[in-house]
């Protein structure tokens, strides 16, 4: 089991980088030291009517500065509460949680859709190979410059306002991108399409999943996904997204 901590973090800075999308840098005692790309943390609300910690992927890690960056979307009252926090305020955090992406030295295609884009940033910074990055947005773009500093970036927007009109796979087809390994994170319809594409082309593919969570540490069995084979821990065809995931080999999960 990976080492994890429950600690008070301090907000270094927070800003809205696109409509309802927030970027928050947190100073942590332990979490930054251990965090790997693709892992997540859970943030605890101060409002006692909201009991469950919110799982949020780690976007960037600065181990020297003991800090992590979270980029999240306001999806409800809990994330709205976080967005109102200011520099210097404390926030209860648990992490790092989950497995993270494996880092392989092969020609890589990184596919990110919407709020699934942030966890790919630390990954692309740490990958030491040829990298092609495709980012898909509904309309408004974010984090593009940060990705451009790490490799060739292609953009898709649903409304065609920037880059290719369509989704990330439309870009892959249009530009004829090929790869030996795919790393993806995004909404479920996108991940299903990515899995289908990967199977057709025989490309090793790693996808990051999400689900409603309660404990975040593998105890409550709230956040499972269907697996193609019996899981070694649960002994049924369910894998815990918070513990065995959130990153899975596409072929090992039934999505």
């Amino acid at each position: 089991m990976t080492e994890k901590f429950y600690e008070d973090a301090i907000i270094i800075r927070q800003e809205e980088i696109a409509t309802n999308i927030y970027s928050m840098w947190l100073h942590t005692e332990q979490i930054a030291r251990l965090a790997k790309p693709g892992q997540f943390v859970t943030l605890y609300c101060r409002d006692g009517s909201r009991l469950l910690p919110r799982p949020i992927s780690i976007c960037e890690v600065d181990r020297g500065d003991c800090s992590i960056r979270l980029v999240y979307r306001i999806a409800g009252a809990g994330t709205a509460e976080f967005s109102r926090y200011h520099t210097g305020e404390q926030l209860r955090v648990m992490g790092p949680l989950g497995n993270g992406y494996p880092k392989k030295s092969r020609k890589a295609l990184l596919l990110g859709g919407g709020i699934g884009i942030p966890p790919l940033l630390q990954l692309v910074k740490e990958l030491n190979c040829e990298k092609q990055i495709v980012l898909g947005f509904r309309d408004e773009c974010f984090l593009v410059e940060e990705f451009e500093a790490c490799g060739k970036v292609y953009i898709a927007t649903e409304d065609g306002s920037r880059g290719t009109k369509g989704n990330v796979l439309d870009v892959v087809t249009e530009k004829g991108l090929d790869a030996e390994i795919i790393y993806a994170c995004g909404p479920m319809p996108m991940l299903r399409a990515v899995k289908q594409f990967a199977v057709q082309h025989g490309i090793q593919t790693w996808i990051s999943l999400e689900e409603r969570m309660a404990c975040g540490v593998g105890a409550c069995l709230g956040c499972v996904c269907k697996s193609t084979k019996k899981d070694a821990h649960t002994h049924v065809k369910n894998k815990r997204i918070c513990t065995e995931g959130p990153v899975f080999r596409a072929r090992e999960v039934d999505i």
Binding site: K4, Y44, L52, E211, G218, C220, G222, H235
Partner: protein, 300 residues
């Protein structure tokens, strides 16, 4: 000062237990808190064979509470005996195994398998609202509850706690029925059946449509039902339902609980059980209570 209690012949170093299903087998929390500080761990329900549980979403948060419809996913008794019991046995805490089943023979099989295991108590789940067979089917009818209690008592080597459902008209009648059938203790309350609808998607928030409501929203119901059960039976009561702090645990003890399980609060703070135990100790110091047993059922 004494914080130890006696639960159906088993001594607990303090009255704080973890509620079944919220704490896995303890292993999941062992890195975040000290299991040795618990009176005991009540494990996730285990059946005779592995169960897949319900489809997702299984979790929905509501104001002051949460709904769950896990559906008793579990790896089955074989894995549990091989992996989870040896893990817990390394700690200085009591092991309470929660048992679930779809039929009487399922429950009996698990109780038999646990007979020679280093387990201190059995807690029998006849109150899960999220499975179609077994579970609550035994927990809403006093005759059925008594029958399953008798069948398990006939084979169990450890004291048997029957976990009761709040989804009944008369909790006292249920408690009396299992007491008369030989139960060594009762545990209450399990979750209250609820439902949440996503108004934007116009869909049920849970794939199972209904789920069990837990958290502070249900705490006053737990206090009332523990009190009613305490007036009805002589066997000890494990009180639970929305305990978030020492004061909540003390309310259940004063209402008649010998021990208290903490469930949903583990999700809000993985160290909450330790903080609750410390808070009870502080209360006893402030109030000049020498022995926690003075508090059990002290309000009538």
């Amino acid at each position: 000062m004494n914080m130890g209690v006696n639960l159906a012949g088993i001594s607990l170093k303090n009255p704080i237990l973890t509620a079944s299903g919220t704490f896995g087998s303890g292993e999941e929390y062992a890195q975040l808190m000290d299991l040795n500080k618990l009176g005991g761990v009540i494990t996730k329900g285990v059946a005779n064979v592995p169960w897949e549980g319900n489809p997702t979403p299984r979790i929905a948060e509501v104001y002051g509470g949460m709904l769950n419809a896990i559906g008793l996913q579990n790896p089955g008794i074989d894995v549990f005996v091989e992996r989870d019991i040896p893990f817990l046995a390394k700690y200085d805490t009591r092991i309470v195994v929660n048992v679930c089943g779809r039929s009487e023979s399922d429950y009996v099989e698990v109780a038999e398998r646990l007979a020679d295991q280093p387990v201190d108590l059995l807690e029998i789940n006849i109150s899960c609202p999220n499975v179609k067979e077994g579970g609550i089917a035994y927990g809403q009818n006093p005759h059925a509850a008594a029958e399953i209690t008798k069948a398990i008592k006939a084979v169990a080597k450890q004291p048997v706690i029957m976990k009761l459902s709040p989804n009944v008209t008369d909790i006292a009648e249920m408690a009396r029925a299992v007491e008369a059938a030989g139960a060594d203790a009762v545990s209450l309350i399990n979750t209250i059946t609820g439902m949440k609808i996503d108004v934007r998607k116009r869909r049920f928030a849970l794939a199972n449509r209904t789920g069990g409501l837990s958290g502070p929203a249900i705490h006053p119901i737990a206090v009332r039902m523990v009190y009613e059960a305490a007036q009805a039976v002589r066997i000890p009561i494990v009180g639970l339902g929305g305990v978030m702090c020492a004061e909540d645990a003390l309310e259940l003890i004063l209402a008649g609980a010998t021990a208290v399980s903490v469930g949903t609060a583990n999700f809000t703070n993985p160290r909450i059980t330790e903080e609750i135990t410390d808070g009870i100790r502080e209360y006893m110091l402030e109030e000049g209570v020498e022995d926690i047993r003075e508090l059990i059922g002290a309000v009538r």
